[in-house]
């Protein structure tokens, strides 16, 4: 029986450390199941100790952090491509990311603490699929895609289809999320990322919002809104986006759009925040994020 302990020991594991992606994929195909992938360990290790994840004895742990071909940030043909094993800290300070997809850098530099960012990877943040994953909302509004590799091939999955539930992704057994492809924002677009936690730093998001807007002659030409921590997965607020597109960028309109967001989200109450507060903050943060995006779009 699982007896309540202060902290559990990580169970016995079978450790593997492939240095090449093909090697890793082959290994996963052989194992079929009974494995977990680790890179930074910032989610898996504490979860194993807290008993929040079930790791049967002798689970195979596949450490992909040494696969150098999965760690990169490149600008390529209208796209920023980031290897899944790129550390969050690198993304936060990358000149390329800051220039072309700044809200990804914003989210990355506010994730956890410096120590956590130096270990955690973008792929890990996505595959852990916490509803509060900070990197997700920016990727959702940027219409990013992930390249998922299996031993038999690869597929491109829009991030909007990546998350299937709390802690769950569309990845099948044997697959590794290898790359994140982010279309470069037009220079005229304005974007914003805001997160709200229980203190000023090193805090889980109670609500996080990313917005991306294009404005033409005072009218919303394109509006994208994504939120974290307010639904079973990070989500796009499509109803609000629909409402705002084609309307003028006035305060009342933005306010109305933000209210629609508050109706779209499906937050839960937990020790961190109540459903009501999350809904309310969805409204407040969306309003602020869109306003700031509109300012940046003009500028």
């Amino acid at each position: 029986m699982r007896n309540l302990l202060g902290l559990r020991a990580i169970p016995q594991i079978e450790y593997h450390r492939p240095t090449e992606l093909t090697e890793a994929l082959k290994l996963l195909a052989e194992l079929k199941e009974g494995y977990r992938i680790i890179a930074g360990g910032t989610d898996l290790v504490p979860a194993a100790r807290r008993g929040g994840v079930s790791l049967p004895n002798h689970t195979h742990i596949i450490d992909i952090s040494s696969i150098k071909e999965l760690g990169y940030i490149v600008k390529d043909d209208g796209m920023i491509r980031i290897g899944a094993v790129t550390r969050v800290s690198e993304i936060g300070v990358s000149a390329v990311v800051k220039e072309h997809v700044p809200i990804v850098a914003d989210a990355a530099s506010q994730l956890g603490s410096l120590q956590v960012r130096n270990l955690g990877t973008i792929g890990g943040n996505l595959c852990n699929a916490s509803p509060a994953a900070d990197i997700a909302p920016p990727l959702l509004v940027l219409d990013a895609k992930v390249n998922v590799r299996g031993v038999d091939g690869q597929r491109l999955v829009p991030v909007t289809e990546l998350f299937t539930g709390p802690g769950k992704t569309i990845l099948a057994a044997g697959e590794i999320l290898a790359e994140i492809q982010i279309p470069i924002t037009e220079a005229t677009a304005g974007s914003c990322f805001i997160k709200l936690g229980r203190r000023n730093a090193f805090t889980l998001s109670i609500v996080s919002v990313a917005t991306l807007v294009k404005v033409k002659d005072g009218i919303f030409d394109d509006v994208r809104i994504a939120l974290g921590a307010v639904a079973p997965t990070p989500i796009r607020a499509s109803k609000a986006e629909e409402y705002l597109t084609g309307k003028e960028t006035s305060e009342q309109v933005i306010d109305e759009g933000a209210k629609i967001v508050a109706g779209e989200v499906k937050p839960i109450s937990d020790v961190r925040a109540s459903e009501e507060y999350r809904r309310d903050m969805s409204y407040i943060l969306t309003k602020r994020a869109i306003n700031r995006s509109v300012q940046r779009a003009r500028g």
Binding site: I10, I13, E14, V45, P46, I61, Q115, V116, A201
Partner: protein, 160 residues
């Protein structure tokens, strides 16, 4: 499962057989007897176990021991020159930034990284830099003072 690894800790090479499920924190303390690295929460939430891994501050409680193969680790012991304290350490002593001392080695490693990588910083940036190091004793005021004093040592060439 035992995994053989080669690693460099405080510039010294080691060949170790590590228990796969143990952490970098475990092997530093239990195998290598490097006691400056402290068990705080073992949850990645307090930073008391902070070391430099390939030059960057990380929580050693989050790193599985086998992952350290081929990597370089630095702890406060690695900042000593024989018995001589590093100027950063002197700054901490001179500015009363050490009370119970339990968070201190972790803070020092983070501060060492920040001072080596930021040429200028505001107080606010410094506070953000050490956000992952919780201290319950000092209220951070003397720690910030000490790090700024260390910067003066560094800028005047008293540094390594």
């Amino acid at each position: 499962m035992k995994v053989p690894i080669e690693t460099k800790v405080n510039n010294k090479p080691y060949k170790l057989e590590v228990e796969a499920r143990s952490t970098l924190l475990d092997i530093l303390r239990d195998e290598l007897k490097i006691k400056s690295v402290h068990r705080g929460c073992e949850d990645g939430e307090c930073g008391a176990c902070t070391v430099l891994l390939n030059g960057k501050p990380v929580c050693s409680c989050l790193v599985l021991a086998p992952q350290v193969g081929g990597a370089e680790v630095t702890t406060v012991e690695g900042l000593l020159k024989g018995d001589e304290l590093h100027p950063l350490m002197l700054a901490f002593i001179e500015n009363h930034a050490i009370q119970c001392g339990y968070c201190t080695p972790g803070v020092i490693m983070t501060a060492y990284y920040l001072l080596n990588n930021l040429t200028e910083f505001t107080d606010e940036e410094l506070r953000k830099g050490i956000e992952g190091n919780l201290c319950r004793c000092t209220g951070y005021i003397h720690i910030i003072k000490a790090i700024k004093a260390a910067k003066e040592y560094k800028d005047s060439g008293n540094w390594w």
